[in-house]
Amino acid sequence: MSDLQNLYQELVLDHSRTPHGYGLREEIRAQSHQLNPTCGDEVTVQVHRAADGTVEAIAWEGHGCAISQASASMLADLAEGLTVDDLEGRIASFREAMRSRGKIQPDEEMLGDAAALGGVSKYVARVKCAMLAWVAAEDALAKSTV
């Protein structure tokens, strides 16, 4: 598999074409809007919590490249049912893999489908695309605890 095929795996293209968790809700608990000024890509992420404090769902809307759209969709899949601490840990793990310049393969057990974004870390200019929704989720969580 070439680097390009590794970057755009079928799973990534599938998520970008039929994204999960797409569509914002009216009741807003914790929300963050993130913009990549170099390309104009943007995403708004809401973190909805269940009564026990776990993440009930991530809802999002945005537009951007296949990487940014797939990444948001994969995050929505991953987050459901996690505790906030667990989700924050996984976001940190994803960030570490993305910033590793290809040295750290994302752990599929920990990151689910998002492990398929491992190829992004070799393309420094695209790391921000992959991180956009995850940064938004992190920011939304931080706001919700204030």
Binding site: L4, E10, C39, G40, Y123, C129
Partner: protein, 434 residues
């Protein structure tokens, strides 16, 4: 006996393009296992050896400060620096003292905006009175501008109380001259617009807009960043008051740009940046300023960049601007036709009935420009993706970003065809499994 006269406006031959390419070492680079196909000259052009050599020759043999010092090197450097100004002036049809060096075209636009702003505050005294702006005055620009020819006017309007008006685009992306005729009125003080759109590649009808501005008694600033590198340019024939140039888009180095300003205007404009090199007499509380262009060149100047830019315009002149324009016009048509023929590709401004340069931006249905650019980069094809510093234009056309291929004198037919084939390949790649 017959004489062969060279056709001064004929496109470059393949053999000539190959010879030109030998002057640009970077074009021999490999990217991702493919020979580089550089189609991003609209963002920044590559530099020929003559430009690099000029900068090196200056740095190794003459480097010193200009307009000060009594030593030989300083005198030589000053002479070369002023010769460079004369070269750039000749290249755009200006007089030598009508060219002001700036760091880039953005600074050149800001120089005009801040000078008018300073005049509005009363700086420049009675001489600058005709330049003052205030409530009731209007500045007119267009919806297709690069942010550099938009935001400085937003800020100038905000500082002075003047109103900014924007000439809208039609559904194809062309300037609406009917609307321009209504927007440009006796209240209009300045009309700022681009000669060639950095997104659409179309050559705007300068004469029509200048005519409207003249009838209204307004000044005209022309953004020539995408025209000066690619078309013969004569600021006097175009009858504009100001024009801004970007060195790195016309084979020169980064860090150098120029403002053309009509002498009578430069003479009454108060300075923008102030400090050393632009004064005659200074006390602890007052300063008197040099005449233009030095009045607008505060601080240590970009000497080696100016000299290198002069080498760049000499290089362009030697090839011949009409020939370069003809070479690139063919690419513009080839890009528009070739890309438009691909199902799902929309070339921005394709429906505009105006001449165009060798530049085309396009949107591919269902494929984001960053993904497209990534695919093409894998083939060694370098082009620009994103909003190209023209968000209002993209918004008007209903998109947030596009992909742009831009050519220059060193571009080949094969490179243009590689872009067209690459876009078709990208569509297959990203739609697989869908």
């Amino acid at each position: 006996m017959s004489t062969i006269e060279a056709d001064l406006s004929a496109p470059l031959t393949d053999a000539e393009v190959q010879r030109i390419r030998e002057d640009f070492p970077i074009l021999r680079t490999e990217v991702n296992g493919h020979p580089l196909a550089y189609l991003d000259s609209g963002a920044t052009s590559q530099r020929p050896l003559a430009v690099l050599d000029a900068e090196r020759a200056f740095a190794t043999g003459m480097n010193s400060a200009v307009h000060r010092g009594a030593h030989t090197l300083a005198a030589e450097a000053t002479e070369l620096f002023e010769d460079a100004r004369a070269s750039v002036a000749r290249f755009v049809g200006a007089d030598d003292d009508e060219i002001v060096w700036t760091s880039n075209a953005t600074e050149a636009v800001n120089l005009v905006a801040y000078s008018l702003s300073n005049a509005s505050l009363g700086r420049g005294g009675a001489a600058s009175e005709s330049l003052r702006l205030g409530p009731g005055d209007e500045i007119v620009t267009t919806e297709m501008e690069h942010h550099a020819n938009l935001i400085p006017w937003q800020e100038l309007a905000a500082r002075t109380g003047a109103t900014l008006k924007v000439i809208p685009l039609d559904d194809h992306g062309a300037l609406r001259l009917d609307a321009a005729a209504e927007l440009i009125t006796a209240r209009t003080r300045l009309v700022a617009f681009t000669h060639v759109s950095n997104v659409l590649g179309v050559i705007n009808p300068v004469a029509d807009l200048v005519g409207l501005a003249r009838r209204a008694g307004a000044l005209v600033l022309l953004d020539a960043c995408q025209s000066a590198p690619h078309l013969p340019l004569d600021v006097k024939a175009l009858d504009v008051d100001f024009a801004v140039l970007s060195g790195h888009k016309m084979l020169g180095p980064t860090g150098i740009g120029a403002l053309y300003g009509r002498r009578a205007l430069l003479e009454i404009m108060p300075p923008f940046l102030t400090g050393g090199s632009m004064i005659t007499t200074v006390t602890t509380t007052t300063a008197e300023y040099l005449p233009p262009p030095q009045r607008f060149e505060a601080g240590t100047q970009r000497v080696s960049q100016a000299i290198a830019l002069a080498a760049a315009v000499d290089y362009l002149t030697a090839v011949g601007m009409p020939r370069i324009a003809a070479h690139e016009a063919a690419f513009g048509a080839r890009l528009v036709d070739g890309l438009s023929a691909i199902d799902g590709v929309r070339v921005l401004g394709a429906g505009i009935d105006l001449p165009r340069v060798g530049l085309a931006s396009f949107d591919v249905d269902g494929i984001h420009s960053h993904d497209l650019g990534q695919y093409l980069d894998d083939l060694g094809i370098a082009l620009r993706v994103g909003h190209h510093c023209a968000q209002p234009l993209h918004r008007r056309l209903g998109i947030t970003s596009s992909t742009r291929a831009s050519t220059y004198l060193y571009t080949t037919d094969a490179e243009v065809d590689a872009v067209i084939a690459g876009v078709a390949g990208a569509i297959d790649f990203f739609r697989r499994g869908a």
